[in-house]
Amino acid sequence: QTLNLGVRAGPEGVDPHYTATGTHAEALKHVFDTLVTSGDNLQLLPGIATSWRPVDATTWEFKLRQGVTFHDGTPLTAEDVVASIRRMQVLSGPNPTRIYVRNVQDMRIVDPHTLHIITAGPAPTLPNDFIRVFITSARATAGLTPETANEAFNAGRAAIGTGPYRFVSWTPREQFVVERNDAYWGGRQPWARHVRREIPNDAQRVAQLRTGQVDMIVRVPAADVATLERDRALRVVKAETVYVFNLQLDYRENTPQVTAKDGSRLAANPYRDIRVREAMDLAIDRRALAEIAMEGLGSPQGQMVTPGIFGFNPAIPIPTPNLPRARALLAEAGYPNGFRMVLNYTNNRLPGDNGVGTALAQMFARIGIEVQAAGQPAAVIFPARARGELSNIMAGWGTLTGEANYYYSANAHSNNRELRLGAFNWHGYSNPEMDRLIQAAAVELDEKKREQLLQEVGALFARDRVGIPLTAVGSAWAMRRDRVNLVRARTDEDTLAMDIVPTTPR
């Protein structure tokens, strides 16, 4: 039986260490196993490692699974894990997987199924990072240089994993094909063959599902969910993801895209005033965003991480709109007539981003801010943000590691090259208290204390309105009822053949 899946994007090669892109990892999870895996709610689960524990402040011990063999029949040992991590450390590309092993300083093989990882400093999130450590065969990758690796993998020579499927073929931007691995340690898979077809165009994906060219599609556009639900031949499964739409405002003294209504310069950047930020927050009707702009494929959100994520703070409320208060706050801050701003947002990156962006513009207009909506492709907007040309940006962020510091350290910490923190803090927010909390959380090995610290970060983030979280992004899958069934919808949106079963024939 073949599973034909229509996906948005496919892998960018067959080498699992080549790039850190989500869709890349998603596809290669079929061929390669990771050291640690994550569940449908991003909880950490055993993978090739059956257990792990910190031995001391800078050492983690991983116990490896017994009896795992590669597709070529050779058994998996600690050697292979070491070789895989070594590869990750040297490979460089546009988006190298090196970040997942940046904390690894040294490795010690205790026995063929026990491994010690030595880190530079305390690294409490190491197991979280390791959900992306794919294990390749040391034998198959021996002698490959960064220059020759790609070729060897894409041709299949080095694409030897331990995963539930064997690699068959890959055509860039077209399809990725795998076949069942009958010797898989986790048990036999129901699909003899699995084809992942790349269909980035939403309408086209839906059309191909309806004509039966594919059995199932991911990311059903919100617009089509209701229609597909009505179609008796189809089943639609919806789930919340870890992506959160949020608005970031500039804190710099001078900001390029905000002026008075007549176009003249303002004395100061209004966004620096907490009252203005609060006013804008209060202007937002998150329910309307979720229900109407996203057509139900979303849910209001008061913080940057979703409930399943480590560090989620249940005490932070979801703000409710209050227009009179918002106008009053604006007036108090010295902008009784509002001001004029450009609102930047991505229009092709996540489902609903265009709708949320335009709806936001409408909501700000309600409190007297004149908004010029500028929805642009991510390819245009992200470089502009990096160049500091924007005053704000509405986009989605996904905490794919399942751990809140992933977001806060990059966005809320002041930009600090030495500490490698705040890499995404383009807006110049800087608060010593915030920095202290984030740094402390980064090295705290005690889970409870760490969670506490991260919740404090979240609270401070919400109080300062460092960013304005809007809604969590939902995702929907649609499938042909008579052929397949999705039994587990993952919050990281990974769609895996392992989570899909054939519809049992009558």
């Binding site: 931007r173 077809r197 086209q204 991510a378």
Partner: protein, 324 residues
């Protein structure tokens, strides 16, 4: 003639050089791909490594010269996203686009030219007016919109034809073609139709205008005076005469079809270079964009050259002495 060919080759070379420089500068101006490619939590170190890895730290002109140098060796560089040779990437998809473009240009020519000749031959007839109405419509309706309507009608609602994608291909000379099987053809029909609509309209108009003019010339009168049948006149005299301007248009249209395939391929998820370029623009895969644009320019220049030379074949007046 030889001198003419040499002259055109030299010009083409110059044009290609200018094109490559323009394209390079243009693509450079779009933005820094690193910002799109690299993951949000990458460290500064990783970022800088990546920039160096791709040579993006060098000044533009050095990057360009390096590019030219590699180009001369037939190396278009490697894709940022896939790290595989761009040429491989593009060439693997070129047949799909060529097939689509050719199919649509042929539809345009084989349906459009006869219709156009007819409409030009009897400009006052109701059927001719209907043909012209269709051509104006084909000229005016945006491709992307028609594409979706076609999918909605013929694939989703009627379920006659596949909604998109390419379907099975048959390998000939190591290249896959889908028009060789009946099933492959079903995949080709809708996108080719979509893409050909504009060409069809164009061919109709050109053939009609040409025919109308030629029908008034003494050549036709003289042929009639010699007792030739109307059909013979159309087939032997008119067709030969309008074929000269049509060949240019045919050539140029073939080339611009390659470009318009961008839209059709996106809508029908046809795995051709057009879709590749859109994907590459969104991911700022610079080498692919540059290679594609340079390749397209190369195609144009070549087609232009071929068109000019085929002029000489069609128009005996140009065969001697070379220049028009």
């Amino acid at each position: 003639m030889l001198g003419f060919i040499i002259q055109r080759l030299l010009q083409s070379l110059l044009v290609m050089l200018a094109m490559s420089a323009l394209v390079f500068a243009g693509v450079y101006a779009i933005g820094n791909p690193i910002d799109v490619l690299i993951s949000p939590d990458a460290t500064q170190q990783i970022r800088e490594d990546a920039i160096r890895h791709y040579g993006l730290d060098l000044p533009l002109w050095r990057q360009y010269l390096a590019f030219l140098g590699r180009l001369l060796a037939g190396d278009f560089g490697r894709s940022f996203v896939f790290d595989i040779p761009v040429l491989e990437l593009v060439l693997a998809r070129l047949p799909a686009t060529l097939e689509l473009a050719l199919a649509s240009v042929l539809i345009g020519a084989f349906i459009g030219i006869p219709l156009g000749i007819y409409a030009g031959y009897r400009p006052e007839a109701a059927s001719s007016r209907a043909i012209m109405a269709v051509s104006v419509l084909g000229f005016s309706v945006p491709t992307f919109w028609v594409g979706l309507l076609l999918i909605l009608t013929f694939a989703v609602n009627l379920d006659w034809l596949p909604a998109g994608d390419r379907g099975p291909v048959v390998e000939v000379f190591g290249v896959g073609w889908s028009f060789l099987t009946a099933e492959g053809l079903t995949f080709l029909i809708l996108p080719a139709l979509n893409l050909s609509l504009f060409k069809l309209a164009m061919m109709i108009r050109l053939a009609r205008a040409g025919t109308r003019e030629i029908m008034l010339t003494d050549t036709v009168k003289f042929a009639r005076a010699a007792g030739l049948a109307e059909f013979t006149i159309l087939r032997r005299h008119v067709l030969r005469l309008i074929s000269i301007p049509l060949v240019t248009v045919f050539g140029l249209e073939f080339a611009s079809t390659l470009a318009f395939a961008v839209v059709t391929e996106t809508i029908f998820s046809w795995p051709g270079v057009g879709k590749l370029i859109i994907d590459s623009i969104t991911s700022l895969d610079r080498p692919v964009m540059v290679a594609y644009l340079v390749l397209v320019a190369f195609l144009f220049v070549t087609i232009n050259l071929v068109v000019d030379l085929s002029y000489a074949l069609l128009d005996p007046r140009l065969r001697r002495g070379g220049r028009a």
